[in-house]
Amino acid sequence: MTNQPDTRQDTSRLSSGWISYRVGQFSLAAQWEVEAGQLLTLFGPSGAGKTTLLRAIAGLVRPQEGSIRIGDRMVFDSASGLFVPPHRRRVGFLTQGHHLFPHLTVAGNIAYGLARATPDGRRVRVAELVEMFQLNGLEHRRPGEISGGQQQRAALARALAPSPELMLLDEPFSSLDIELRRTLRSELREKLRDAAIPAILVTHDIEEAISMADQVQIIDNGQVSAAGNPLQMLGQPGQGRVARLVGVENLIPMVVTSVQPQDGTMVCARQDGGSPPLEVPLSDVVQGDQVTVGIRASDIILADSEPRGSSARNRLPGVVSDVRLRPPGYQVTLDCGGLDLSCHITGTSLNEMGIRSGDSLWAVFKASSCFLVRD
């Protein structure tokens, strides 16, 4: 959530709101704010309430309490009893299965939401979207006759055709392969930014969250547990629950042994003293406090000899205890005197260094790659 006034020129396209929704044992409480052309990602495990939130914003479920604003229009307000039905909300909703209508052609699907346009206007808009999403030549095919990627493009075109004021994306690419997912992701991001459409994306794919989002909210068990910048939120999550959700590979319980304010760092060690100490960024803890240090496996460098003349503060000798394939690369586990560190490296590095179980290597990482995780 950016708060600088200069990014808020176009307040008419800001969408925001809060809801509280209960059904049976499940309850959901959330609030959000997205600016024109910005993308908010809701990240969390399945069943956390992400999809329900999108459905509430689209008007497909009615929360008990809340208030929802899309652009300059209020579409829901429990206090005044206002409830604008979904077909008058001007929201684009792209769901998990793309749900193209099987009885219509690609062009028919794209034109579907343009019921109020003139025949000429409709033709122009459809041609524009066909061009934009590279569907040329497929206009008269039925959804069953085109590929998965093309179906997803057509569904995107259909959702964007009526120029929605807010785009809701519910794991839109989950059924596609990685390559296609990446391409479509950046295409969509670009188009939403160009059209200055605010968007909310639901996903449990970290890569998707980081590459697309301007801000991230972590939703767990119907509650927003954290919110902020995607890299910070997902790369160095400050909360234990979030860290586990995101899958931080190295979470190490340690004790603060000394504080070095002049360097902006502090030193932590294992309670049993079995492994070398780590230098981590300074935090609001004091000597003797118990902390959990998080390190992403991709932030650790492996070296076959002790790196001299390196600025990295942490250099730990260890023995390779495990090597396994973890697409797109490999995960190497290094036993550093009782402390197991997971490191991600590419297949090329693995081959060049000839890494095998039992090899002696050094793990190298900066103090700033370490972060404290609160429970």
């Binding site: 979904p86 077909h87 684009g92 209508f101 099987p102 579907y112 179906q151 055709a161 009526p162």
Partner: protein, 284 residues
């Protein structure tokens, strides 16, 4: 001409039979298939043979009662289908959408007339709408007497035929994912527009199947009609009733009328085949 046709049919049948028997090693299946198909085809062949032995198989239709019966059958079954469509479609949609346990009971009851012997339906309708029936005095007060009228024929047909339509249309509506309709709403189409432009076209094959089945059932209706509406020429005597009546006087007329009904049944069969053929590949 007849014997040649039979020879061709037999040859075709035997050759298919043989390849199946040797190819799949299931002679029992082939034999029972042969028995089954012969059993169904033989009476129909007999009817055709008898009809085409005459110079003009449909000549007997020119008779006054036969023509009246044909007209009455077409008119009453058409009215039946219109009523069933108008009332049955919203009802089928409601059945498909509702999740209440009461609806589930109603859903089962709807199919009762399919299983109920039509004669029982006729008796039941007499007890409801007849002069001595529950609604009899009330209807008499309005100056209406239903039994032994053309309206009674239509009542009987609706009673027995409607479930075929409602059942088929309901399955058609149920097969449409809710997500389709939700997508349509978020694309800016009102619930009514969504029904017209999405639900209806997607359910159309199932609805047409229901119409074909209901129409066939209405045309063949006999038991409930003769109990509730009687057998009055030009008024309540539909084709099946006319066939029954003709069997006592003129076999030719009975055969001609039967030939007509057989032709209509074949039309329904072909229409069903066309409707139920895969019209578009389902989206994965």
């Amino acid at each position: 001409m007849y014997s040649r046709a039979r020879a061709i049919l037999l040859k075709h049948f035997l050759s298919r039979n043989q390849s199946d028997a040797w190819g799949n090693g299931v002679p029992i299946g082939a034999i029972s298939s042969a028995i089954y198909v012969l059993f169904i085809c033989l009476p129909i062949l007999a009817l055709l043979v008898k009809a085409f032995q005459q110079d003009n198989p449909l000549g007997a239709l020119v008779s006054q009662p036969a023509l009246l019966a044909l007209r009455l059958s077409l008119v009453t079954s058409a009215v039946t289908i219109i009523v069933v469509l108008l009332v049955g479609t919203p009802f089928a949609l409601f059945l498909a959408r509702s999740r209440s346990p009461i609806t589930r009971v109603v859903d089962q009851l709807v199919e009762l007339p399919i299983i109920l012997p039509p004669v029982v339906a006729g008796v039941a309708m007499l007890l409801a709408f007849g002069r001595q029936g529950i609604l009899g005095p009330a209807l008499a007060g309005l100056g209406i007497s239903l039994p032994f009228t053309t309206a009674a024929v239509i009542f009987a047909q609706i009673f027995v035929a409607a479930p075929f339509y409602v059942r088929s249309a309901k399955l058609g509506f149920q097969a449409i994912p809710r997500a389709y309709e939700e997508n349509s709403l978020t694309l800016g189409l009102s619930p009514w527009q969504t029904f017209r432009r999405l639900t209806l076209p997607l359910a159309a094959p199932a609805m047409l199947t229901g119409v074909a089945l209901a129409w066939a059932r209405a045309l063949s209706e006999f038991g409930a009609t003769i109990m509730f509406a009687g057998n009055l020429t030009g008024k309540t005597q539909t084709m099946p009733l006319a066939i029954m009546a003709a069997m006592e006087t003129s076999l030719d007329t009975a055969i001609a009328l039967s030939l007509m009904l057989l032709a209509l049944a074949l039309v329904v069969l072909v229409a069903l085949a066309i409707i139920t053929r895969d019209r578009w590949q389902a989206a994965p």
